[in-house]
Amino acid sequence: MTEAPQGIERRLVYRVLAYWRGVCGERDLPQRQEFDAAGMGEMWPHTCFLDVAAHPRDPVIREIGEILGGTVEGGVVGCPVSAIDTKTLLGHAVSYCDDVLAKRVPISRGGEFINRRGLRTLYRSILVPLSSDGAQIDMLLGAANCREISDL
């Protein structure tokens, strides 16, 4: 096994990807039902599920973990992606869902943004596709975390 440089294996996005791969096994796409708080453990509060089946052009937040949900004001369950504040971690984490739907593979992105409190924020995120029938993507699992940099 390759040695992990700088604790990559500890990164949330890597752990989510590894978990998704593990659930996939030999399949291309796993089902939504195979992901739960018990299985995902510490990752769960950082996740969200986007409903694609009913809203393919503008997926809707169906479920969201406590920590990721805490990065936005008010409730976002039921909100379409286009309505999510882009100055939030969630806004950045779901901003490339179209790419995941087009490529049908996990995509991880990171970067920085200025949050609502005016602080520079570094983030990492990942979106992975899910499917009930193993062919048509009907849900996306997202996960993200961030840290604020105060030396702006």
Binding site: M1, T2, A4, P5, Q6, I8, R11, V13, Y14, L17, D99, K103, V105, P106, I107, S108, R109, G110, G111, R124
Partner: protein, 144 residues
Amino acid sequence: MSLIAFEIHAFRNGRWQIDSVFDDRELALYEAKRMDAAGRFSGIRVIEEVYDEQSQNTTTRTIYRGSKVANSNADALERSKKNRKEIAVARQRKAQEEVLRTKQVAAAQARKQSNPVRLIALFSSITLFGIVLLIGLQIVSERF
């Protein structure tokens, strides 16, 4: 400004298929190496894709090839080298044997031609034939 993406491609079902996409080179390479070590796919590679917003051009290059593919290629090359060498040695040996056999045949023929027993037998045959011929001629001349 340029946008960079790192795509992991896996070789499955007889073709390269995109497996995952990252904007973090380190993470992409780490994941590709892990996948390669797992051995599920016969090939793993990482493609760096750079999109230049100004020119709207995309350039791609392979920044990682799984060792499985590289090792397989190296093994095939080594086998091919070994085969070529073996064929060359066999050809050389065959040519040497051919030369040796030709020499042996020539020597045998030379030996055969200069054999004293053979010469004596040949001489005896000619002499005997001469005597028989003379006797025959004498008989013929006495009768007529």
